[in-house]
Every structure is written in C-alpha cells, then in structure tokens.
C-alpha cells in the first residue's frame, strides 16, 4: 500500500520537487512484496527447499569452514561479503541519466534477477557441499563451460580491481586530508593485527572498537595535516598514488593474513553495517529533495559525459552491484553454503541479503541525486574536458546545458575543505558530497560537512582497499591453481617464489589498467567502468546459465523461466553492450571507432584531437582502445560459448525425458531445527520452546 503510494508520488510529481524519501519508501515496499511472495514462491515451489534434509553445515560439521551458523549472523556475514564499494559507485555514475532509470532498474533488477541469482546459486551450491561456481559449471555443463567460467572470473577480477583502485586514486589525488586518513589505515590495521595476535588473542570486538576509534581520529587528524606543513607530503599526483597502490597491493597479498587482511576485514565489516544504518536513518530524518530530473537528455541521446551510450543497454551495465551482480555468485557458492543451517534459510540469506545490498544502491543514488546537477557534472566529466580552471569547468558544464558558476564551485570545494572538486570522477567523491549534505544536516551542521565528506571517502576507500587486498590474493590463488594443473610446484600455495611471481602477475595486470586509466586522456573511469560492468554481467550470465541448466536437468523445466528470463535479459544487455563497444561507428561509444579516429588523425599528421593534446597522448588512446576493444570482444565470445554449451545440455536433458543425473549430494536426514526467517514467527517460537524443554528433560533424565 505504502509502496503503491510512493510509486504513484514518484510518477506524478514531475517537474516539482520530489523528496528522496519517496524513492526509499518505494524501494522498501517493493522489496517487502517481492520477498513475501516471489521469494517464497521460488523457495517452496521451484527449488522445493526441504528442512528435513541436513545441510552441508550439519553433515560435514568440522567446526572450521563447515559449521551450522545462526541465520542472523550468517545474514550479516553474507551481506558484508557481497556489499562493498560497487553498489555505491555504479548508481552515482548512472545518475547522469536522471534518477528514474537507475531507481527502476535497481528495484526491478534485484527482484527478478539479482536476488534470484544469489538465492538459486546458494541453493544449488548448498546441495553440493558448497561447490564453487566454476566447479558447478564444469560438472553440470561441461569442461568448455567450466574453462570459460574460469577465464571470466579471472578477467573480471582484474578489471574489478583496476576500476576500484581507480576510484580510490581519483578520490585521493591532490587531497592531503584524504590521503593521510587512508594512509593511516595501514598502521592502524597493523597495530590491530599485532594486538590480536600477541596481546589479546581472540578479543575481536575490543580490537575493532579500538580500531574504529583510531580511524575516526585519523579522519580528524587528516584535517590538521591538511592545514599543517605536512600537507605537501600527502598531496600526491594520480601517478604517485598508482605506484603506492600497486606496491601496497603486492605487499598486502604476500604478507600473512593476520598482519593486515584479517584486521582490515574486521574494520570494514563494522564500518559497513554502521554506515548503512546511519545513512538510512539520516535520509529519513533529513528528507532531502532530489535536484536531478527524472530523465536527463543523456538518457536518450547517448552523449552523456560521465559514460557514453544510451539508456539501453548502458544503465544496466553501469549499475551491476545492487541490481544484478555476477560476482555475488562467487560468495553464494563459497563460504555461505557451508554454514547455512536450514535449506529454507536460502530465502532470507540469498534473496534478503541481495535486497539489502540493493537498498544500499538506492541510497547511493539518492545521495548523488540531491547534489546540484551542475556540480555533479563538474565533478564527473573527464578532467581534460573541464580544463584547469574553475572558469573553464563552469564553461564546460554550461556547454552540456547545466549551470554552475566558478564561485559556486569554489564554495562547494571550500565547504568540504578540498582544493577543488572539479574533475573528481569515479563516483566516490560525488557520493561523499551527497552523504556529507545528508549527514551534516542531521549531525553537526555545516561545520561538520568537511568531516563527513572525508568520513565517506574514508569508508569507501577502506572497503576498496580491503577488496584490493583480498582480490589480489584470490586472483593469485586462482592463477596458482590453474598453473598448478600443468606444473605441480606452482600450485603449492605456500611455496614462496610461486607466491611472489603470481602476486606480481596479478598486481601487474590490474596495475596496468589502473596506470592506463589514470593517464587516459579520455578519462579512465569513463572507459573502464563499462568494461567492468560488462565483465560483471558476464559472470551473472554464467551463474544464471548454471542455475537454468540445473533446473532443467533436475526435471524442473517448467520452472526454468525463473532463471531463464533474467538470463535472457542479461545476455541481451551484455551482448548489445559488447557489440556497441566493439562495432559502434560512434567514436564516443565504440572502442575501435575511437581507435580508428585517432589512428587516422595521427596518420594525417595532426598533433592533437579532442582531449588528447599531444601525439603521445593520441598514441596512448590508440593503444588503450585496442586493449579495451579486444577485452570487450573476448567477454562477448565467452558469454556466447557458455550459452551455447549450456543450451546443448538443456536440449540433451529435454530429449532424454526431462532429467539428467546431476551431482547433487544424497539425502541425509536433519536432526537440527531452526527458524526460516530472520525473526522467528510465533509458531516457530513455540516449537523452539518445546524443543528446549524436551532437550532439558532428555539431559536431566539419566540422573
């Protein structure tokens, strides 16, 4: 009911001021309906969850990775593992098309695609002792599909790390406050690591509380540093930041986990949950007004400066996390299925966890849309278009039909105590400005705006660096595992030379894209982010193809549309986007058209073209677009390979009477009992009480 009203208000109030809270209401109400009906339908009718069947956590309980875990705790862990900087960045970039395309895709996408994928993958992995997506693809589709899945995972990992690192670089370059705060997270994490290892082993809460306190101190300290003589030391160029990040990534991935990674994980988990709650409460209290239009012209003409291309397919590519994210399939087929206690809980953990991430994405979109559009574009257009002065930036924004005066730009930068906000692309700074408006409205007023801005930058960078640590390590393991098939020694994950070489390869790979992105005359994030989106949706296609295959093989072909429809949609989006990126004749969209344009200009003896001011920069564009174009084509080919291979299996299954043997674990009866939802129902509480008294009697009986 509330949802219908909220949607109606969004639909009706055109041209007037819309409060952001209506978007939040519309989202929450839609989630509630989808969870109540659609998720229930999938769980009980399609998947047929069976609570009398023991989960891997119960069957294989070893107290380490297999362990029946309370659903509420597992929900928290699962959410912390799937949500990071992704749902915060994509919606901000998509805001260039107005608030409506992003909002609708986030909400509809999560309900029919993203949350479905997470839940179904979780279910099937749970029925297979927690097999990974790659293993399931190999076992259920075949070696070709399996190999394609492996390449896709590695490729997406590298692009992901480069894009995320680029977001951090763009947020920190020329910002001594931000750079100091982020740099301080390293000694803080080291301190926590040693504290936990030698002084107080096991005191996780205590250590985390100390860590968070130190973190807040580091943010405040950053403000002092920015005004002191040390400011120059912490004012770094983009290139210097790239070098530091690459070195950091390498060191972090070869150091033992207890020193850096584990404490960082604790910190991020705390910050993540804390900030999400803080933001949700603040939006409801501050009730901010949206400044962006529902649709901007860029939604239709495809000439948007933040990323090129029209609404279809690019909104669906840019917003991956929050609507449909293939990466989640790795988490849903990783640790979570090994810890789930009851089959019916896949609904709350898989579907519910993804809905929560989607909610975070809606809040990020809100934060981006309450900013003045003039400022939004001044922050997110490529630096080379904006020029070096506030006047040139103001003129560039006016060029695309928005207004912001140089004075307003200076004022906006002063409010958050930054040198300038112009050309701070990548999403994180824009989001931080939006968050600082919302939070300073509730806590502390204008005087605190700078603090909240840097607080937001800090927590985003913290997530991202945690992902860079962990991602490099995961990539290294995948590489070692793959090479290990051919050369056994390389597969030994504790063999030092193997660790160093494989870490260097992974760091070098994302480092290359990061370096190219920072120096890209066309603005790196604009080029790389679509590529990242395509890679992520490609992984989603693999996950959904595996799910569809399993539904068909297990004789549930009549329900296969549940994953087949999102798969078809995702394949159309991914393939259209790759097609345009490869074959579009519009140089702003197609990588090869762009390459040709620059190549021709070079051959014609021109020394500058558009935003590339020197022949070297032009050559750089030619090289970058070649690499990007080849990657886009590679991704598209991988999708096709997997889909064809999966379709082969579908036909085979349908021909053989509707079923084929799968690798499902045999049935074992469960002895455990636990509620299905996050909050136990009255009925469940009654059963819980009964079981407790029974256990009590059983324990008391012999004496």
């Amino acid at each position: 009911m509330l949802g219908a009203i909220a949607w109606a208000i969004i639909a009706l109030i055109r041209g007037e001021e819309v409060s952001a809270a209506w978007l939040v209401f519309a989202a929450v109400a839609s989630y509630a309906i989808a969870y109540r009906f659609y998720a229930r339908f999938i769980a009980y009718r399609v998947l047929k969850v069976d609570d009398t069947r023991a989960t891997p956590a119960e069957r294989l309980d070893n107290g380490v990775d297999y362990h029946p875990t309370d659903r509420r705790v597992l929900f928290g862990h699962h959410f912390a593992a799937i949500a990071g900087a992704g749902p915060l960045v994509g919606p901000v970039l998509a805001a260039q098309m107005g608030y409506l395309p992003g909002t609708i895709w986030i909400i509809v996408g999560v309900i029919f695609a993203g949350a479905v994928q997470d839940m179904v993958v979780l279910f099937f992995s749970m029925r297979r002792s927690g097999r990974s997506l790659g293993q399931m693809a190999r076992e259920e589709i075949g070696p070709v599909g399996g190999a394609a899945a492996l390449i896709a995972v590695l490729a997406i990992m590298i692009i992901l790390l480069a894009v995320l690192a680029l977001v951090v670089v763009n947020a920190l370059k020329g910002s001594p406050w931000g750079t100091f705060s982020i740099a301080m997270t390293i000694p803080i994490a080291l301190f926590m690591g040693f504290y936990l290892r030698y002084l107080r082993p096991g005191r996780v809460v205590e250590t985390s509380v100390i860590g968070v306190a130190l973190l807040l101190l580091a943010i405040v300290g950053g403000g002092w540093v920015a005004e002191s003589g040390l400011a120059d030391t912490f004012t770094l160029s983009g290139e210097a930041l790239v070098v530091s990040l690459v070195i950091y990534g390498f060191v972090a991935s070869v150091l033992p986990v207890w020193m850096l990674l584990a404490p960082r994980d604790y910190l991020s988990a705390f910050m993540k949950v804390g900030v999400v709650v803080l933001l949700a409460v603040s939006i409801l209290l501050a009730w901010p007004t949206l400044q962006t239009e529902a649709f901007t012209d860029f939604a239709f003409n495809g000439q948007g400066p933040v990323f090129a291309g029209s609404l279809f397919p690019f909104v669906f590519i840019i917003i991956a996390c929050g609507a449909l994210s293939g990466f989640h399939a790795l988490v849903s087929s990783g640790t979570t299925p090994k810890m789930i206690m009851k089959e019916s809980q896949v609904r709350v953990i898989g579907y519910g966890g993804m809905l929560t991430e989607s909610f975070v994405a809606v809040m990020a979109l809100v934060a981006a849309c309450i900013i003045d559009p003039g400022l939004y574009f001044a922050m997110n257009m490529p630096g080379t278009v904006l020029g070096d002065t506030l006047e040139s930036a103001s003129a560039a924004v006016a060029q695309i039909g928005f207004t912001i005066t140089p004075d307003q730009l200076a004022e906006a930068a002063r409010a958050v105590e930054e040198e300038t906000l112009v050309g701070r692309s990548g999403g994180a700074p824009t989001l931080a400005v939006g968050i600082s408006y919302i939070l300073s409205d509730i806590f502390g007023g204008d005087a605190f705006q700078a603090f909240w801005y840097h607080f937001a930058i800090m927590f985003e960078a913290l997530f991202i660096l945690t992902t860079v640590d962990a991602g490099t390590r995961v990539g290294r393991f995948m590489l070692q595992d793959t090479v290990g098939n051919v050369w056994k020694k390389a597969g030994d994950v504790s063999w030092k030379p193997g660790i160093y070489v494989s870490s260097a390869i992974i760091v070098g790979a994302w480092g290359y894209f990061l370096w190219a992105g920072v120096r890209d005359p066309l603005g790196g994030i604009n080029q790389l982010f679509p590529l990242f989106g395509i890679a992520n949706q490609l992984l989603a296609a693999i996950a959904l193809a595996v799910c569809t295959t399993l539904l068909i093989k297990s004789g549930r072909a009549k329900w296969a549309w549940v994953t087949l429809v999102p798969l078809a949609w995702d394949a159309v989006v991914t393939l259209t986007a790759s097609w345009q990126k490869v074959f579009s004749s519009d140089p702003a969209v197609g990588f090869f058209a762009q390459r040709e344009q620059f190549q021709n200009a070079l051959e014609a003896g021109k020394t500058s073209l558009g935003t590339a001011k020197t022949p070297e920069q032009m050559e750089q564009v030619v090289f970058n677009t070649t690499v990007d174009g080849v990657l886009a084509a590679l991704f598209a080919i991988l999708v096709v390979v997997i889909l064809v291979d999966a379709a082969r299996v579908w036909i085979k299954a349908l021909r053989s009477g509707g079923t084929l043997p799968t690798h499902e674990d045999p049935y074992v009866e469960s002895k455990l009992w636990a509620p299905s939802g996050l909050i136990a129902t009255a009925e469940e509480r009654r059963i819980m009480k009964e079981r407790e008294t029974k256990e009590h009697e059983a324990a008391g009986a012999p004496s």
């Binding site: 309980d61 070893n62 107290g63 380490v64 990775d65 362990h67 875990t69 309370d70 509420r72 705790v73 928290g76 862990h77 912390a80 593992a81 799937i82 949500a83 990071g84 900087a85 992704g86 749902p87 960045v89 992901l160 995320l164 936990l196 290892r197 082993p201 096991g202 005191r203 996780v204 809460v205 985390s208 033992p256 986990v257 207890w258 990674l261 584990a262 604790y266 988990a269 705390f270 996390c321 994210s325 990466f327 989640h328 790795l330 988490v331 990783g334 640790t335 945690t466 992902t467 962990a470 991602g471 390590r473 995961v474 393991f477 994950v493 504790s494 992520n536």
Partner: protein, 70 residues
C-alpha cells in the same frame, strides 16, 4: 515474581542474546564454537589452548582467501 522483575528478566535475556549474536557476527565466538564442537563431536579428547586456536584460526585464511564482492 512481580511484573517488573519479569520484564527486567526478559529484557536482560534479550540483551544477552543480542550481544551474543553481535559477538558471533564479529567472529569473537570462534573459540567458544570450537570448544562446543569438540564437546559435542569428540568428547573427552584434548582441545587446543585459546592462544593456539586463534593462531591457527587466522592462519587458516592464508591458504583460503574468501571472495568478497565489490
């Protein structure tokens, strides 16, 4: 029991449960969980000391990096 004391008792239990969940979420209950597991599945066998357990617990992740998303 008076009504007030029943209420405080319920609140106390609620709070204790919530705190326990929070500690479990943070990972602090890992050793307790390990002890419970040993007691249930391997009763009477020796268990690791707390310090040794934590060392192994964290070091296990050296060879098992968990995927986290963006």
């Amino acid at each position: 029991m008076t009504r007030a004391s029943v209420l405080t008792e319920t609140l106390r239990t609620r709070f204790r449960n919530a705190w326990r969940l929070f500690r479990e979420f943070s990972g602090e209950r890992a050793y307790e969980i390990y002890l419970e597991h040993r007691r249930r599945h391997h009763p009477g066998e020796p268990v690791m000391s707390e310090r040794e357990f934590w060392r192994r617990h964290i070091d296990a992740r050296d060879t098992d990096p968990r995927s986290t998303c963006c």
